[in-house]
């Protein structure tokens, strides 16, 4: 039972984050609730690009690596490259898919 108090303290300490998490869960469900199946692939692809936001964490890691810490710089560099691939590749692929849905003038 001695872990309950620290856990509650921890959650309270991060109350804004917990708030964002809970509300975002509901938001995520609502936002895509009525998507027609034609758009499932582009939506999945677009969502894929959005979680590329993890790149911000990679930027912070690399940005905090000391000037002499070469291993951290190498790993951080790799992380930023991977994150960018996710973001840029994701958005470009999604855009290519959606280009084909363009309405033709009759």
């Amino acid at each position: 039972m001695e872990f309950i108090q620290p856990t509650l303290d921890f959650l309270y300490q991060h109350r804004e984050a917990v708030f964002i998490i809970i509300l975002s869960i509901f938001l995520g469900v609502e936002v895509i609730a009525h998507v027609p199946s034609v758009l499932h692939t582009p939506l999945m692809s677009g969502a894929n690009a959005i979680h590329g936001v993890v790149i911000i964490g990679a930027i912070i890691v690399l940005g905090e690596a000391g000037p002499d810490n070469v291993p951290a710089q190498i790993l951080g560099f790799l992380a930023v490259v991977l994150g960018t691939l996710n973001v840029v590749g994701g958005f470009v692929v999604t855009n290519r898919m959606l280009e084909m849905f363009k309405k033709k003038k009759k």
Binding site: V38, G52, G63
Partner: protein, 461 residues
């Protein structure tokens, strides 16, 4: 001032993700939605580069290195995304998803030592980010290789038990990681290695037909892993972006499972396409072939034709020829529509993307329920490279592995023409009694060649 600019940028970024996802759910606004989310992402990245301050209050180091990494990633990502063929989209999405997972796992590996002093609760977010991101990475790579046909299904006896055991060990070690008081590289990299191994073993046995579900699931995994990173840094835009994708991705995964009338558990541990005995029982009789010329006559004198596209159409890149045939038939006064099964192809909506590429008008694409309602009044159904989604065994053979999956009821139509490369089985690896039905005629050959021949014959009539 820096904090305020950063905060406003993150706020705008988060809003752009929400608005972008919302707009992606509607055909008219989808493209703008994607661009809005991309703009928000760019803003959040630039703001982080220039306005982020470490807890000690100094700006980020290594800015040139970061810019170089972004330039390299952008070049590779754009090149890959522009080069990929439309048929290969699913595996490309899987690969980009894996990159994000790897990024999250790398962040966890690097920050672990740094945050060691902060105790188990903070470390648990790092441990979770490592495990979820790592599974997403190696699992996505396996999904990519499988969809790319570089890798077949791989099963052995007791695989589920081994996987379950491995997961228990992995989770225990993950918990152990959070209770460390000193830095243990052996444990950290051990967990990382086991995580990658688990991701591989997790996806390996899952059949190719279920890959869309797996990609969608891994997509939401990466979202959650990104959110753990956001929690660690108290970074609002990472939190909203990650959680949004995690929750939307989970719902999308469930929707896909529902389309196949299966539970997620069943997809993940059931060995689909294992070629169970009984699946083929009762399928017998002879098949009847039809020549393109006869098929053309049959089609041209019909009132209503329904085209059922499947993966074979995608592989043969036959969507344009298919559209030509549709136009040729419409010129002869035949009503032509497309019946789209939600999981036809290798990804939900895959067929819609391909047919849209060929300029097939949007209202011609019928979703499953609407298509099934029109089947009895349809004179001819043309099945182009689809198999499992039109297999009546899903309705009438409880022993079949796809029993219960909603299908396009093409056997309700007056005539069925099945275009197929050979008598090979579909992705689920089971026989299809539709091919033996008295209503069915088979037109063997590559989907594009067959459609082209059919098109020529129709035009010559």
């Amino acid at each position: 001032m820096n904090e305020i600019i950063l905060w406003i940028s993150y706020l705008l970024g988060s809003v752009s993700f929400i608005v972008g996802l919302k707009m992606l759910s509607h055909p008219e606004s989808a493209r703008r939605g994607n661009l809005i989310a991309a703009a928000g992402m760019t803003l959040a990245i630039l703001a982080t580069l220039f306005f982020y301050r470490t807890p000690e209050g100094r700006p980020l180091h290594n800015i040139p290195l970061i810019l170089a990494a972004i330039a390299l990633g952008s070049a590779l990502g754009t090149w890959g995304a522009l080069r990929v063929k439309m048929t290969a989209m699913p595996q490309m999405v899987s690969l980009f998803n894996g990159m994000g997972g790897a990024c999250a796992a790398l962040i966890a590996v690097m920050e672990y030592e740094h945050y060691l002093v902060q105790g188990p609760l903070v470390l648990s977010t790092i441990s979770a980010g490592l495990i979820i991101g790592g599974i997403s990475f190696s699992g996505s790579v396996i999904a990519f290789l499988k969809l790319n046909d570089n890798l077949g299904d791989f099963r052995f006896k007791g695989q589920n038990i081994l996987n379950a055991l491995l997961l228990v060990v992995l989770l225990s070690l993950g918990v152990a990681l959070t209770f460390q008081t000193y830095y243990s590289p052996v444990l950290l990299f051990g967990v990382a290695a086991l995580t990658l191994l688990y991701g591989v073993l997790f996806v390996l046995p899952i059949g190719g037909a279920d890959m869309p579900v797996v990609i969608s699931l891994l997509n939401s995994f990466t979202g959650v892993a990104a959110a753990f990173g956001g929690f660690l840094y108290q970074n609002q835009v990472m939190l909203t972006g990650g959680i949004l994708v995690g929750s939307a991705g989970t719902i999308l995964t469930v929707l896909m499972c529902q389309a196949m009338n299966r539970s997620l558990m069943n997809v993940l541990i059931g060995n689909f396409g294992g070629g169970q005995a009984g699946a083929t029982a009762g399928v017998q009789g002879s098949i009847r072939e039809i020549q393109a010329s006869d098929a053309a006559v049959l089609l041209a004198y019909s009132k209503k034709v329904m085209i059922v596209p499947g993966y074979g159409l995608a592989v043969a890149q036959a969507q344009h020829t298919c559209h030509e045939l549709e136009k040729a038939l419409e010129d002869k006064g035949v009503e032509v529509k497309y019946a789209i099964h939600p999981v036809a192809g290798r990804m939900p909506g895959h067929m819609n993307v391909l047919l849209a590429e060929a300029d097939v008008p949007y209202p011609k694409l019928l979703e499953m329920e609407d298509a099934n309602a029109e089947m009895p009044a349809t004179d001819v159904v043309i099945v182009v490279g689809a198999n499992d989604v039109v297999n009546p065994a899903a309705k009438n053979n409880p022993a079949s592995p796809i029993y219960g999956m909603p299908i396009l009821e093409v056997e309700e139509a007056q005539n069925v023409i099945v275009m197929k490369r050979s008598m090979g089985k579909g992705y689920a690896g089971i026989e299809n009694e539709l091919f033996f039905s008295p209503k069915t005629r088979m037109l063997f050959g590559d989907a594009k060649d067959s459609l082209q021949k059919l098109l020529n014959e129709v035009k010559n009539l």
